[in-house]
């Protein structure tokens, strides 16, 4: 009986000592520990995601040859259309470059695109995040925009070796500036916060400004739903926005990695002070 009591006491003491030590540990070691845990967890997440892909693959394998031939034909048609669009886009790009040079207009941020499969997603909880199967090894950096086509999905918050966490556009912590369709002159709207000045009502499209240096201009964030309400203060207005894509069904996303690190990225890195001095 006494032995049991002593054992229980010893366990409690050990727990308290462990908690105390954990609190007393330097933040770097704790961060490293967290990082190690994420890296340890990553293969399991990847394995789960890949097994889902495999299941899907076998599901497709079970389709009839006729179905696959029809799908292949549709795909070839789409490919041909896209090929044409690609040529047209290339012409527009060259024309754009020529005009920019002529007007001595500064180059917009250049991005490298990294396509990534979605590993897991959780849109129901308050953190509203998604894990993707690409990480530091693929050149992804924190703060990069994540898109599906021309629609904003979210923004990379944490990057591990082979997986990255994406904060979704629906998250309360997501911040971005946007313009509203039909707002003349265009005024900045603070998405997930308050909007500035009166704007159009109805189902106006909300798209990125491209001014903040993170998101390219013109990506669609969503559409306004319901009425626009004024705050008691007067000019500020608020409205609900519905995201442009159902985030629960996305299988694959593109991460736009800026060619050069943004100032925000430099600040977020642990050695920001040194780098800040470098750029001064």
């Amino acid at each position: 009986m006494d032995n049991n009591r002593q054992g229980a006491k010893a366990s409690i003491v050990a727990l308290i000592v462990f908690i105390g030590l954990w609190i007393a540990l330097p933040s770097t070691i704790r961060r490293l520990n967290k990082e190690a845990f994420s890296e340890f967890q990553a293969p399991a997440i990847q394995l789960l995601s890949k097994s889902r892909d495999l299941a899907r693959y076998w599901e497709l394998r079970s389709r009839s040859t006729e179905d696959l031939v029809a799908a292949g034909r549709d795909l070839a048609r789409i490919n041909a259309t896209l090929e044409l669009k690609l040529h047209a886009m290339e012409d527009i790009r060259k024309e754009n470059l020529r005009l920019r040079e002529m007007l001595r207009y500064p180059n917009s941020t250049e991005y490298l695109t990294v396509v990534a499969r979605v590993a897991t997603r959780d849109t129901s909880t308050w953190w509203q995040r998604m894990l993707i199967r690409k990480g530091r090894n693929d050149g992804i950096r924190p703060g990069c925009p994540v898109v599906f086509g021309n629609r904003v999905v979210g923004r990379v918050t944490t990057v591990h070796l082979n997986i990255s966490e994406v904060e979704l556009v629906t998250s309360p912590a997501f911040r971005c500036t946007a313009f509203l369709e039909g707002d003349d002159p265009p005024r900045i709207v603070h998405v997930s916060g308050v909007a500035s000045n009166p704007f159009t009502t109805g189902r106006a499209k909300v798209s990125t400004t491209g001014l903040g240096g993170v998101f390219p201009a013109g990506l669609i964030l969503g559409t306004l739903e319901g009425g626009v309400t004024s705050t008691a203060q007067g000019n500020l207005k608020e409205a609900y926005m519905v995201p442009s894509k159902n985030l629960d069904t996305i299988e694959e996303v593109s991460v736009l990695v800026p060619k050069y690190p943004t100032a925000g990225e430099i600040l977020m890195s642990p050695t920001d002070r040194i780098k800040l001095e470098e750029f001064k």
Binding site: P185, I188, H190, G212, G213, N235, T262, A263, G264, L267
Partner: protein
């Protein structure tokens, strides 16, 4: 037993005196105990609520938030004073406490290891630690704002924003003031992120880019946050600046949205954000209407005075809006025209222009030159800008605060007085030479010309001086003064209508109260000696002691247009205004006499001194004036023109005054006429739209 303590035999308990003492002590202690118990009971049972409220109040505070001010519209509903969102970057000092502490300890370590430091000043180190940490954050903020998102190496030259050095480092005095007076509130690092150099507002694209960079790139969730509030915005810059006025920082906020009956508000500690109160123009006189109601937040506070937890709050309520009678198109036309009247060095001459609706008295335009940009005064008034405007004399609203001799525009009064008092009739002719002798002095005709036979109509057409000397001397100063007062030339204008229930007594602040319609008693009163006939001659042509404002002269023109003696001007638009004017009666001239006056003013534009303001398709009645005044001891001219249009069916009346430079090159028709013409063209365009 040996008495070790050498006790007195009186100290034995059996001693009756000792018993008395013991009893006394017993009673004393019992009384003391009862007193303490009763006191405790009183506090616990009777004062419990009061004490609980006091204790509660000690850990709570109310933060008062200013409301957004109401908008100001012109008569057609165009917004002429608005509010814009101001994005400020603020630091939460409570969240920064660990950083302050770390920096403080590091500074102490450094000081201790420095052999040159003999005595460590811990207070100074604590202040320095705060400053270092805040400057570190400010560096990061500017790094994000300045950086070029394309290639970081270009960041040095990337920003097109005007550098506001004051907001590149933390101002120590501002930090000290904040810690002393309002440490519970967040400390403002950058007041206006979109326009960091408020003296030179950057272009809107660059302003948007700055805010966007901060929102998208600056790490969030930390002690630094972006907060928005409303600041005054004057979209038309200098337009009607003297009428609209400007606002100034104030912690004297308007009353709160709600009563604090359940919060025992009076006993709570209060902290006020800095708000804005009207400091000039309509912003000042209509401040109670425009300023709305303040909001509040009830916070618990930490022992060191920082806000801890928000318990309750109430949003501020925006102020009511006001519709002014101004018409922005006419106003802009008047101001543009005033700017084009320049002296020999190319600088615009000081002046004022007013246009009224003849029937309602509503002011359609009121311009004063030089002027100022109220946008420059929104965040704070820089000494440089204040001095610049002060040296130009730009703070003065010349339309209501300038005092000027009316010159020949006064001849309308002289003519009316003469006909009403049967000194002369409309068709009587006087022979007018090149001058007229009054006492021992020759009073000259303008231009040295002899106009020959002159009646009322011709006198107004050509602005004959000699006619007025002769008629004025016959009338005498008292009748001239009586007539001028009948038209209200020295009466206070722009009095606040009681229906607006506004504590201010006038619609625009501080209209001049030094108006003069002189008479012999006045001259005696100012100690200038007895009145003489030369004074009467001068008075008859609007010279001498007479002083009035451009607004008064515009009212005179409107009154003549309506055949009434008074016009009540107003700056507030009311579509249901009935057109009755306080104290107005008929001028008292017969049809021919009135026609002579009106026809003379009409011909003044067609063939007389106001030819410069002819407009095709519009008949105008006007009277010019060129009076003399002394500027810095040298003779200069004041150029006047007053009138109304259309001459046959008056709708608008106007008055323009230009202060000439130190020579006599400024003349009523030539100098002031084009400004009146521009205003009338602006009115015509508006009229065509309607």
């Amino acid at each position: 037993m040996k008495n070790l303590f050498n006790e007195s035999p009186h100290s034995t308990p059996s001693d009756p005196l000792s018993r008395v003492r013991i009893n006394f002590l017993f009673i004393f202690f019992i009384a003391g105990f009862i007193y303490i118990t009763a006191g405790l009971a009183y506090r616990q049972l009777v004062q419990a609520n009061e004490i609980m409220v006091q204790s509660d109040n000690q850990i709570k505070r109310v933060v008062i938030r200013p409301p957004a001010r109401g908008k100001i519209y012109d008569r057609h509903g165009y917004t002429i004073v608005d509010n814009r969102v101001r994005w400020s970057v603020k630091a939460d000092l409570l969240s920064l406490q660990p950083e302050f502490r770390q920096e403080y300890l590091s500074l102490i370590r450094k000081a201790k290891s420095d052999p040159t430091v003999l005595k460590i000043n811990y207070d100074a180190l604590s202040e320095q630690a705060r400053l270092n940490v805040l400057n570190g954050w400010l560096d990061k903020i500017w790094f994000v704002i300045d950086a070029n998102t394309d290639k970081p190496k270009r960041s040095k030259n990337a920003s097109k924003l005007p550098l506001n050095k004051e907001e590149r480092t933390v101002n120590l005095l501002a930090l000290r003031k904040h810690l002393t007076e309002s440490r519970a509130l967040k400390f403002t690092l950058i007041t206006d992120l979109a326009f960091p150099g408020s003296e030179n507002a950057s272009d809107p694209d660059e302003a948007n880019r700055t805010v966007a960079r901060f929102i998208e790139q600056f790490p969030q969730g930390g002690p630094i946050s972006l907060e928005s509030d409303m600041v005054r915005s004057y979209p038309y810059s200098t337009m009607a600046a003297h009428v609209l006025g400007y606002v100034r920082d104030s912690t004297d906020l308007p009353p709160n949205v709600d009563d604090f009956t359940d919060l025992n508000f009076d006993n709570l500690q209060k902290l006020r954000y800095t708000g804005k109160r009207g400091a000039a123009g309509i912003e000042q006189t209509f401040d109670p209407i425009l300023s709305g109601a303040s909001g509040w937040e009830l916070w618990t506070k930490t022992s060191s005075g920082y806000n801890k937890e928000l318990l309750r709050s109430s949003e501020p309520r925006q102020g009511s809006s006001i519709n002014l009678s101004l018409d922005i198109n006419i106003q802009l036309a008047a101001e543009e025209a005033l700017r084009t009247i320049k002296d020999s060095t190319g600088n615009p001459l000081p002046g004022a222009a007013v246009m009224l609706d003849v029937n309602t008295g509503e002011i359609l335009a009121m311009a004063s030159q030089p002027t100022f940009d109220p946008n420059q005064l929104v965040n704070r008034i820089s000494n440089k800008y204040y001095d610049e405007i002060e040296n130009q004399g730009g703070w003065l609203n010349r339309a209501t605060q300038g005092q000027y001799a009316p010159g020949s525009t006064f001849k309308i009064i002289t003519a009316i007085a003469a006909m009403r008092n049967q000194v002369i009739d409309w068709d009587d002719i006087l022979e007018c030479g090149t001058s007229f002798r009054v006492g021992n002095r020759d009073f000259p005709e303008h231009g040295g010309e002899a106009f020959g036979s002159v009646d009322v109509e011709k006198m107004l057409t050509i602005s004959c001086n000699v006619w007025n000397y002769r008629v004025g001397l016959k009338l005498g100063p008292d009748l001239l003064a009586k007539e001028a007062r009948r038209f209200g030339l020295d009466a206070p204008l722009l009095r606040m209508p009681p229906s607006l229930s506004n504590p201010s007594t006038t619609e625009l602040p501080y209209p001049t109260n030094r108006l003069v319609v002189p008479d012999p008693a006045y001259k005696q009163r100012i100690g200038a000696g007895p009145w003489n006939s030369g004074d009467t001659a001068n008075m008859s042509i609007g010279q001498g002691y007479t002083l009035t404002t451009p607004l008064h002269m515009a009212c005179l023109a409107a009154s003549v247009a309506r055949n009434e003696t008074r016009t009540t001007p107003t700056i507030i638009h009311d579509p249901n205004r009935d057109g009755r004017h306080e104290g107005a009666t008929s001028i008292g001239l017969n049809k021919d006499q009135l026609e002579a006056i009106r026809s003379g003013m009409k011909r003044c534009v067609e063939e007389g001194t106001a030819r410069s303001m002819q407009i095709e398709g519009l008949t105008i009645a006007a009277k010019t004036g060129t009076s003399e005044y002394f500027k810095n001891g040298e003779k200069a001219h004041l150029a006047w023109v007053i009138g109304y249009a259309p001459a046959d069916n008056p709708a608008v009346a106007f008055a323009v005054l230009i202060e000439g430079q130190l020579d006599t090159s400024t003349w009523g028709g030539k100098t002031a006429g084009p400004v009146a013409k521009a205003m009338l063209e602006g009115w015509l365009q508006e009229n065509d739209k309607d």
